[in-house]
Symmetry: C2
Subunit: 395 residues, 2 copies
């Protein structure tokens, strides 16, 4: 659910070139958009990026769906000075698994997002003020339906693949379900057909931290004074769930930062000394919380986590198979052994239900110590799976 | 780390009688107490309860160490109207594993606590105001040293066993290390010789939630207006770590509460409707957070979690064995299969290091789906282990 993380990730092994300098674009859809909840907005914008060229047949597109905290910028740099490239730059580029010499790669900030697409921070055309909580209740299906408008706008006839990890995996699978004529392949990574009670519980605590921050003010806060404390706490906690116990131990263990430990003979009256950041892992989480506040909107966090919690492909009878009855796409679902947020069993369950529904589906398991975020990190094993899946399609 | 929980726990199977109505007592120690950090306080109080009778030889005492959110009231009721008995009533009583017909059972609220013993909410005799953050930095060893004064005060010559789960397990083991002449048996349940980076990380997020709540005010808050929001968030998050994924799924799954789900056609402007408590598991956590705020002090939470994070029995060379060189007590360490906060491997590690150090130690593993809190809940398997360990001592 997170961006690739400089502290935990080794520099991704590039087995290909870079897409270079990229420029985000805006797709402004002037048509009414109707949400699953019944509410409508008169228009919306999706900010997106593309890499590579659409072929003459308009059939070589790969659509990338980002995770909770991601955005449209998944490859290349916006300027030569950018410290980091897009969040999936290790996978997208000339000669890389999503090979921009062959494929036209598209990624958009989701509807409801805060990175250029229409969401709670956008002006409500009806009032001229920010939507905030007047933004309609949002589902994964809503996000996918908005993506589909962009794909039509770009003239894509069919998608070679829709791909995503975590929340992005939910969207990718929903794409294949809702637009069977449009999607030839679907790849879901570290995802689930529905969240466990534990995953809902973690999201609920995050929302509680945000909504109980006085600065949240029932969602009605000015752009520069949101519930930063609550959002940082939510992010710190969530970040723990993206990593494995083992990866935290091997990276940080119980290492301490400098002189934070209280010297003998000192009283503890100095709160900063006794309760301040003492262990490296604390410092790391503080940094994660702060940097998230600088780039993310608290209301979007509420809308996205709620969409995650409500996502459930199981039918009223508890069966998952029926969700895939109309699906025609080939499917690859990948679980990561150390992912405890969306455990491998939940990924396997998706592929098995697809198979029972008569789909061409494969489950693959990648051994990794890096937890849920494994799908974002350097993994030759994952790269090989992605390459093989794309290559297996008859031209 | 938690109290037994009515929602998750089946009514404990009582295989014995009750201790009946009990009355807490205060041990006021008028001697200076020196902390590991070097600071001193001129006196301290420990609130405690006892069950059963000390024998003439003064050798039949069992000392119970409570976990993070526990207190001295572990058996019986304070009045006939009490809704719930003490937190370990399933284990302590006539004919129960800690049989009060045979043993004199003692439990005290830890030094630093907020349930009657001296801690941050107590008046500082030097200033007449609450200690708050002028309370000295606290370690597990400090808590044990204060307990030892109580045991002397009660005239106990030696302890048949010191027992505890989670933080209580750390204390029990520290007892056996620091007072080898006093402790004949030690039982550590769901505990660890040092916390993992992940466990520290969860505590750090909890502290962050508290310390960033404006009501915390650098620890200087009035009794009736503490950082309740931060403390509730900390507790909600921590509570997830006390339970297993499986137990949450089997108890709550994705069940929803009444009509909280947003009806189609409704806009989401009603924050309470869209982001309010929707799933049963959310409701459960909210309840946990609120009830905790009503009985716990935020500064004590900071002091206790910091003591947990700093507890580390490993030597500077990383070896654990040397910690047990002087220990003479028999030891039983019990891990629970679904405990992911202090996993069974961390419990096993303690027993193995004790064995390597030449101690009489046993590791036992209890199969349970209930996570870290398993040690508090009804478990005939655990009861049998406790009975057998106590019975194995030659009288």
């Amino acid at each position: 659910m997170t961006d690739a993380d400089a502290l935990l990730a080794p520099a991704p092994a590039t087995d290909g070139g870079d897409v270079g300098i990229v420029r985000p674009q805006d797709f402004v859809c002037k048509e009414t958009f109707k949400f699953d909840c019944g509410a409508e907005i008169p228009e919306f914008t999706l900010r997106y990026e593309t890499y590579g060229q659409l072929n003459a047949a308009r059939t070589n597109a790969i659509y990338i769906c980002h995770a909770l905290s991601g955005d449209h910028h998944c490859a290349g740099r916006h300027s030569a000075e950018d410290r980091k490239p897009g969040w999936w730059d290790n996978i997208i580029g000339p000669g890389k698994p999503f090979d921009t010499d062959k494929y036209f790669v598209i990624c958009a900030n989701c509807l409801g997002g805060c990175r250029g697409s229409t969401g709670p921070i956008s002006p409500n055309p009806r009032s001229g003020k920010r939507y905030n909580l007047d933004f309609p209740a949002l589902t994964i299906r809503d996000m996918v339906r908005a993506h589909a408008r962009l794909v039509d706008h770009l003239g894509v006839r069919s998608l070679a693949a829709v791909v995503g990890g975590s929340m992005g995996g939910m969207m990718a699978i929903q794409w294949a379900i809702d637009f069977p004529g449009k999607v030839r392949g679907v790849i879901g990574l570290a995802t689930t057909a529905r969240q466990s009670a534990q995953a809902i519980a973690f999201n609920a605590v995050g929302r509680s931290a945000i909504m109980q921050d006085p600065a949240w003010n029932q969602g009605d806060y000015p752009p520069d004074a949101g519930p930063n404390v609550g959002l940082a706490v939510a992010r710190m906690m969530a970040h723990i769930t993206y990593l494995s116990n083992k990866s935290l131990d091997s990276k940080f263990g119980r290492a301490k930062r400098g002189q934070a430990s209280l010297p003998a003979g000192t009283n503890s009256g100095d709160a900063a000394g006794h309760f301040g950041v003492e262990f490296e892992v604390e410092s790391y989480l503080q940094h994660q919380g702060q940097s998230f506040v600088n780039r993310f909107d608290a209301n979007t966090y509420l809308y996205f986590t709620k969409a995650l919690d409500r996502f459930d492909l199981h039918g009223p009878d508890g069966r998952l198979d029926d969700a895939f009855k109309a699906m025609t796409a080939r499917a690859l679902v990948v679980g990561f052994t150390s992912d405890w947020l969306f455990p491998k069993e939940q990924n396997q369950e998706i592929a098995q239900a697809m198979l029972r529904a008569g789909c061409r589906a494969t489950y693959a398991e990648v051994t990794s110590d890096l937890g849920h975020d494994s799908f974002l990190l350097n993994s030759p094993e994952l790269y090989a799976l992605l390459r093989a899946f794309l290559a297996a399609e008859k031209a």
